[in-house]
C-alpha cells in the first residue's frame, strides 16, 4: 500500500512539473512601451478618485495591469472590456513594479451575458447597496467582508488597522467563510434531512456563495479547500485528508499553473492543512466558544512564514485581538446572511437584522481601533528561506510526534 502510494506521488509530481514547465515556457513577456490589446473581465472593484478611476485587470493568466482612466465611462465589477493602449510601469512603495495603462481605449463595455452570473452580480450589488444604505461605511464594509469577503468598499484607514491587528483573514473570502457557510447549512439542514442530502445541499450552498462572493480564483480556491475541510469534519476521517489535500492541491495547480507563484494559493493551502491537523491536539479544550479561535489560530500557525514573507510584518497582538473578536464572527455571519436575504423580500426586516448586528460590529471595530493604536508590530525586511523551511520542518515534526502519541493513547 505504502509503496504504491509513493509511486503515485512520484507520478503526480512528474506530471505537475511537466505541466508547469510547458505553461511557463509558453508565456508571453511584456515590456514597457509595448502596444497591447486584450479582452478581459473586470474582477476587482474600480476605485474612484476626484478626477480619474483605477482598476486592476488580468492582462493574461499571470500578468495584472493597473488601468487608469477618466470618469466618463463607469466601469463595473463583472464587466467585459476590450482594452488597447501602451504599457507603462510604475514602482510600488513595496519595491516591486507593476504594469499600468494610462487612459487606454476601452471598448464594448458589455455586461455579463451568462444569465446565472449576471443575476448573481445583480444580487451581489443589491446586497452591497442594502447594507450601505442602512449602516455606516465602516460597519457596512466590515459586515460585507465578514459575510461575503467583499472588502473593496472598506475605508482605507480601517483596512490598514485590520491588517495591523492581524484580523485580515476575517474580511477576506477564505476557506473559513466557506467552512462556516457549509457548517451552518449542514447544521441547519442536518436536523431536517438525511445526512447525505444535507451534505449535498450544503455543498450546493457553498457553490452559490462562491458565485455571490465573485467567482474569483481566490474564492474558488477557498471553496475547494473549504469543502475539503468541511467534508473531513463531517466524515471525521482526518487520516485520509492529507492525501485528499495533496491531490486537490496538485489538481488545482494542474488546472491553474499560475497559482504556483501566488501567495493566496500558498496561504489557502497551508491554512487548510493547518485547520485539518492542528486542532486535533486541542480536542480537550474544544467547545462551541473556543472552536473558532482554535481554527483560526491553527490557520495562523500554519501560515506564519508566508504571511511574514508576503506582508513583511506580524502583529504580536494578533492572537489577543483574534481571541477577543472571533466569537462575533458566527453571529455576524448569520445576522448578515439573514439581512441579505430579507433585503430582497422585506426591507424593514433586513434593516432590523442589520441593526441587530451593530453592537457586535461596534465591538469588533472598537477592539481593532484600540489595538491598532497600541500596535506591537514586528517588521521583517526579508525572511530567509531557511527560516521558513526550518519552521515547517519543526511544525510537521511536532504534528507527527503528537499524532503518534495520540494513536498510542487510543490503542492502549
Amino acid at each position: 500500500m505504502k509503496g504504491s502510494l509513493i509511486i503515485f506521488y512520484v507520478f503526480l509530481i512528474t506530471i505537475l512539473i511537466l505541466r508547469l514547465h510547458t505553461f511557463y515556457s509558453n508565456q508571453k513577456t511584456y515590456t514597457k512601451g509595448q502596444e497591447i490589446s486584450f479582452e478581459t473581465q473586470i474582477l476587482s472593484f474600480p476605485k474612484t478618485y476626484t478626477f480619474y478611476q483605477t482598476v486592476y485587470v488580468n492582462l493574461d493568466k499571470t500578468t495584472k495591469v493597473l488601468i487608469r482612466t477618466d470618469l466618463d465611462r463607469q466601469l463595473n465589477y463583472g464587466d467585459y472590456v476590450k482594452v488597447s493602449g501602451t504599457l507603462d510601469t510604475i514602482l510600488l512603495s513595496s519595491g516591486g513594479t507593476i504594469f499600468t495603462l494610462n487612459n487606454p481605449e476601452i471598448e464594448a463595455n458589455f455586461r455579463e451575458n451568462n444569465p446565472f452570473l449576471s443575476s448573481v452580480y445583480f444580487i451581489r450589488q443589491k446586497i452591497i447597496d442594502n447594507f450601505n444604505s442602512s449602516l455606516d461605511p465602516v460597519s457596512s464594509s466590515l459586515l460585507l467582508g465578514i459575510v461575503f469577503g467583499i472588502k473593496e468598499n472598506m475605508p482605507k484607514d480601517f483596512l490598514d488597522k485590520i491588517q495591523i491587528t492581524g484580523v485580515m483573514h476575517v474580511v477576506a473570502a477564505s476557506g473559513m467563510n466557506v467552512t462556516m457557510v457549509s457548517g451552518f447549512l449542514f447544521y441547519l439542514l442536518g436536523s431536517l434531512l438525511k445526512r447525505q442530502f444535507a451534505i449535498a445541499l450544503s455543498i450546493f450552498g457553498v457553490i452559490f456563495y462562491t458565485a455571490l462572493a465573485g467567482f474569483e480564483p481566490s474564492i474558488i480556491r477557498a471553496a475547494i479547500m473549504g469543502i475539503l475541510v468541511f467534508s473531513a469534519q463531517v466524515l471525521g476521517r482526518q487520516q485520509y485528508s492529507l492525501n485528499t489535500l495533496l491531490i486537490t492541491g496538485a489538481f488545482m495547480l494542474f488546472l491553474w499553473p499560475q497559482f504556483v507563484t501566488d501567495t493566496g494559493f500558498a496561504l489557502s493551502f497551508t491554512a487548510t492543512a493547518g485547520i485539518l491537523f492542528i486542532p486535533l491536539f486541542f480536542q480537550k479544550v474544544k467547545n462551541s466558544f473556543t472552536e473558532v479561535f482554535i481554527t483560526t489560530t491553527s490557520a495562523q500557525i500554519a501560515t506564519l512564514p508566508i504571511l511574514i514573507g508576503a506582508f513583511g510584518s506580524f502583529s504580536l497582538l494578533s492572537i489577543l485581538v483574534n481571541a477577543l473578536v472571533l466569537w462575533t464572527i458566527p453571529v455576524l455571519m448569520i445576522l448578515g446572511a439573514v439581512a441579505a436575504f430579507f433585503g430582497f423580500i422585506f426591507k424593514p426586516a433586513a434593516v432590523l437584522f442589520l441593526y441587530l448586528s451593530l453592537p457586535f460590529l461596534y465591538f469588533f471595530e472598537q477592539t481593532v481601533y484600540l489595538f491598532s493604536e497600541l500596535g506591537v508590530v514586528v517588521t521583517f525586511d526579508n525572511v530567509p528561506w531557511q527560516f521558513s523551511a526550518g519552521y515547517y520542518l519543526l511544525l510537521i515534526s511536532i504534528i507527527l510526534f503528537l499524532n503518534k502519541k495520540n494513536e498510542k493513547v487510543f490503542n492502549s
Binding site: T48, T50, F51, Y52, D70, L71, D72, Q74, D129, N132, S133, S134, L135, D136, P137, V138, P155, S288, P330, V331, I334, L335, Y355, L356, S357, L358, P359, F360
Partner: protein, 285 residues
C-alpha cells in the same frame, strides 16, 4: 441555536440603550453646526433643533461619511437638504457617496456648472436619487420650521442671464448663507472672494460665527469685511500641508487683528458649534 437567541436578545438590549443615548445626545433641541474634518475642502453638517439634517458641501473625499456617522444617530439615514455652494471637486466629491448611501430629500445649488468628470458623476448620482438641480439666489429664504432659517445672501439673480449657466469663475457665484437661530448667526461663505464678501458684508451684519471663505486664501476677505460683520469666532476648513498654502498668513493676521478666535480643521479636527439661540459653545476634538 439557543446561544444565538441569547446573543440577539443581548444585542437588542444594547441597541435600545444606544437608541436612548443617541436620542438624548443628538436630539437635544439645540442647533448643531459641525465643520467636518475632510481635508482640503468644505463639508458642513447642521442639525436643527427639531432634528432636520442639512449638509452644506461634501468635501474632496468620503471623509464626510465619517462626519455624518459621528453626528447622526445610527437609525437616521435621511438628509433633509443638501446645499452645494459651487461645483468644484473639493466641495462636491463626497456628495456622490452621500447620495448613494443616504436618502436625500432636497437639493439646492448655485446656477453654475462644470464639465469635470466628477461633476458628471455627481449629476448621475443626483438623478438616481430622483433629485433635480434647484437654484437659489440672494433673498431666498429656507425656513426649517423650528426657528432655524437659512437666508441666502449670494449670488444675486441679476448676475445671471436668464438661460446661461455660469461655467467659469464659479467660486464667485458660491451660495452664501446666513444661518440664524434666535440671536445666533453663522455665515457660511463657500469659496467666494473678497469682492463678493465686501458686497454682502452689510447684508450679513453682525454675526457670531464665520466660516472663512475659500479655506483662508489670500483673496478671501478684507479688513472692511471683518469690520462690518464683527465675528466672534471663525472656522477654517483646510487640509494639513495643502499645496495651496492655505490658510495664508495674510488671513490669519487679519483675523488676529480683529481679535477673532480662530479654529482650523487641520489643527483642531472636527469643530462643532452648539447653540440654544442666545448662547453658543464651540467644541473641537
Amino acid at each position: 441555536m439557543k446561544k444565538y437567541l441569547i446573543l440577539s436578545i443581548l444585542s437588542l438590549l444594547i441597541l435600545t440603550g444606544l437608541f436612548f443615548y443617541q436620542n438624548a445626545k443628538i436630539n437635544d433641541g439645540k442647533l448643531h453646526l459641525v465643520v467636518c474634518d475632510v481635508g482640503q475642502g468644505d463639508a458642513i453638517y447642521l442639525k436643527t433643533p427639531s432634528g432636520k439634517d442639512i449638509l452644506v458641501d461634501g468635501g474632496p473625499n468620503d471623509s464626510v461619511l465619517n462626519c455624518l456617522t459621528n453626528n447622526m444617530p445610527f437609525w437616521d439615514r435621511t438628509i433633509d437638504l443638501i446645499v452645494l455652494t459651487h461645483p468644484d471637486a473639493d466641495h462636491i466629491t463626497g456628495l456622490v457617496s452621500v447620495l448613494e448611501r443616504y436618502n436625500v430629500l432636497h437639493f439646492v445649488t448655485s446656477k453654475t456648472t462644470k464639465t469635470t468628470a466628477i461633476y458628471k458623476k455627481f449629476l448621475n448620482a443626483l438623478e438616481k436619487e430622483g433629485l433635480e438641480l434647484k437654484y437659489v439666489f440672494a433673498k431666498d429664504r429656507i425656513d426649517f420650521g423650528d426657528g432655524t432659517v437659512s437666508n441666502i445672501i449670494w449670488p444675486d439673480s441679476s448676475l445671471f442671464n436668464s438661460k446661461q449657466i455660469r461655467e467659469s469663475g464659479v467660486n464667485e457665484y458660491s451660495v452664501i448663507q446666513l444661518i440664524s437661530y434666535g440671536n445666533f448667526q453663522a455665515l457660511l461663505t463657500g469659496d467666494a472672494g473678497s469682492l463678493v464678501m465686501d458686497e454682502i458684508a452689510k447684508d450679513a451684519g453682525d454675526i457670531d460665527i464665520l466660516k472663512i471663505p475659500h479655506h483662508g486664501s489670500k483673496t478671501g476677505m478684507s479688513d472692511y469685511f471683518l469690520t462690518e460683520i464683527k465675528p466672534e469666532a471663525a472656522v477654517i476648513s483646510v487640509g494639513a500641508k495643502n499645496r495651496y498654502g492655505h490658510p495664508t498668513q495674510f488671513s490669519l493676521d487679519l483675523l488676529s487683528k480683529h481679535n477673532v478666535k480662530t479654529l482650523r480643521t487641520d489643527k483642531n479636527g472636527e469643530i462643532e458649534i452648539v447653540t440654544t439661540g442666545p448662547d453658543y459653545e464651540v467644541y473641537s476634538n
